[in-house]
């Protein structure tokens, strides 16, 4: 089998000044195209894990290979570039830049990454057309496109953020509590939509939440506590 999307090996990370490692993972592997739900209470190291997957943080020990690239061997600038080239992010809320239009928010990764831009152009004639295609896919009606993003509902904002994560078909999509501001019905709808879009784009999805009930939307579910070699408070 080819190189997995994520392969963490003997990874250890501690925040400066802390003796106890925040993360101590013997092995964690996510195959290409898989969708994985990572469940953990707040303080279980979820955010730190995502920062490591995104290359914002580097582990003190062990290896973090994303799509076959060892992140620990890259410079900070190269990790920033790698992140935007290969990963789309969706956060809890306030995901959008308030002074940019809906379309410009979606196109942000294409501004920082030539690779994302060219992959987006492989699917549509123009970047704008691809952004619009994704927005329509994510049930954002054309009547909303001209509205300032700050005046969208939280659910609509999260769908714009999903479009931004998906544009240019990154190999990896990481969602950090993307539904915690939504009510239960909308949570389910959003997650199904996200999973479907990732599947269609062939992207690997890592979805992190404290809410174990959401596990059903992903094919595989992992608890932070099981990932950690020794369960210790962060």
């Amino acid at each position: 089998m080819a190189e997995p999307a994520i392969r963490l090996t003997d990874l250890r990370f501690a925040w400066p000044g802390q003796a106890q490692p925040c993360l101590d993972i013997a092995a964690f592997t996510v195959g290409v195209g898989e969708s994985v739900f990572v469940h953990g209470d707040s303080g279980s190291g979820k955010s730190t894990l995502l920062a490591l997957l995104g290359g914002v943080l580097v582990p003190q020990a062990g290896s973090a290979r994303i799509l076959g690239t060892e992140l620990t061997g890259l410079s900070a600038g190269a990790r920033d570039r790698f992140r935007v080239d290969h990963t789309g992010f969706i956060f809890q809320q306030f995901n959008l830049i308030p002074y940019l239009s809906m379309q410009d928010n979606v196109l942000l990764p294409c501004r920082f990454s030539a690779r994302r831009a060219s992959r987006a152009l492989a699917r549509a004639a123009t970047l704008a057309a691809e952004a619009k295609r994704l927005l329509v896919e994510l049930d954002l009606d054309e009547s909303l496109w001209r509205r300032p993003v700050t005046r969208l509902s939280v659910g609509q904002q999260q769908r714009v953020a999903a479009a931004r994560a998906l544009i240019g078909a990154p190999e990896l999509v990481i969602a950090d509590e993307p539904t915690s501001a939504l009510d239960a019905a909308r949570q389910a709808a959003f997650l199904d939509l996200l999973a479907a879009e990732c599947a269609q784009a062939g992207s690997t999805l890592v979805f992190v939440s404290h809410d174990a009930r959401l596990a059903s939307h992903c094919a595989r579910s992992v608890a932070m506590a099981d990932l950690q070699r020794q369960a210790g408070p962060a």
């Binding site: 914002v56 600038g77 920033d80 570039r81 992010f89 956060f91 002074y99 942000l108």
Partner: protein
Amino acid sequence: MKTLFGLALRSAWNRRLTLGLTLAAVALSALMLLGVERLRADLRASFAMSVSGVDLVVGARGSPVQLMLYSVFRMGEVTQNLSWASAQWLAQQPGVAWTVPVSLGDSHRGYPVLGTTAAYFDRFRYGERRALRLASGKRFEALFEAVLGAEVAERLGYRLGERIALAHGSGEGPGADHGDKPFVVAGILARTGTPVDRTVHVSLEAMEALHLDWAGGAPIPGLSIPAPLVRKFDLTPKSVTAVFVGLENRAAVFALQRAINDRKEEALMGVLPGVALDELWQLVAVAERYAQLVSMMVVAVGLTGLVAVILAGLNERRRELAILRSVGARPLDVFALLALEGGALATLGAALGAALVWALVLLLAPWLQANFGLTLSGGLPGAAEGRLLAGIIAVGAVAGLIPGWRAYRLSLADGMTPRL
């Protein structure tokens, strides 16, 4: 870089009210700094322009600066005159090519009246040794004829042949009027951009005639000599305010100055216009220094405000910066985004300040010209102003690094999840 610039621009537009106000503060502080410099430079140029070709200005002994101020710039009050005998003695000194006696003290509707001889129009020079020129009419010939400076004629709407009444002294106070002896406008001078434009010129004899029936600054009660009769009196002046002296050879100026200072009959002084001006600038320099210092402080306040506003906005923008990080912005990009904003605002503020100076000069120049005879140059910023502008921009750009640095640190610490 294009991406960053677009982002910075749209982010700034999003905060246009606060940033606009800060921009206004920077622009006003730049206006003050540049305005002080422009006024200072133009004041000097204007004074230096006002007289040329006069080797010595002679007056009663006192302050050289004051003598220059009232005899050339028509500022301040005449404190003491020199006798006509001394004026005549001066004209006979070896090496003296010409003398022009001037007598000041009266006014016409706020404009100073200068009594002098016909030689004034031949000898007086301003700017780059430019001679006075009549725009219309002729010099004064008859006793009660006057030649007006360009500003006087224009402001008061006088034409040739018009009758005007002079006032005694500054024209304030009751009965301080020479209305019994009106003057006819004989000529109007071309504009010079010097105090000459604000002067009413009459002959020394006319000046004397006006004051025949006056003593001690007031009309003598019961004595009134009507205009047609004044010819019957001796109209040789008793005294004049100052004498402008031109030499055949400028090298003789110090010898003559010594002779003047040593004159036994009367306490006189000879002043070299350039030297007196230097003395004046030394006096003014202290005030100038303070004005500059204060305006520099104001600029510092403006730029500090700018940095404070950007820094204050930074906390609200932490999530924005985190989002940018998640889509591939490097910490250095975040730094550039903030530093760009500070630098751009400082540059814009400085440019706006310069534009304000320019507009204000256009607006104020006629008023300053009319009231003080000062000429403001409405042109492009000079070298000194350019240096100040560059200074504001440089300091602003450096100050902009502070929020840039702070944002850089924050985005390194926050990564993609701001700890709010």
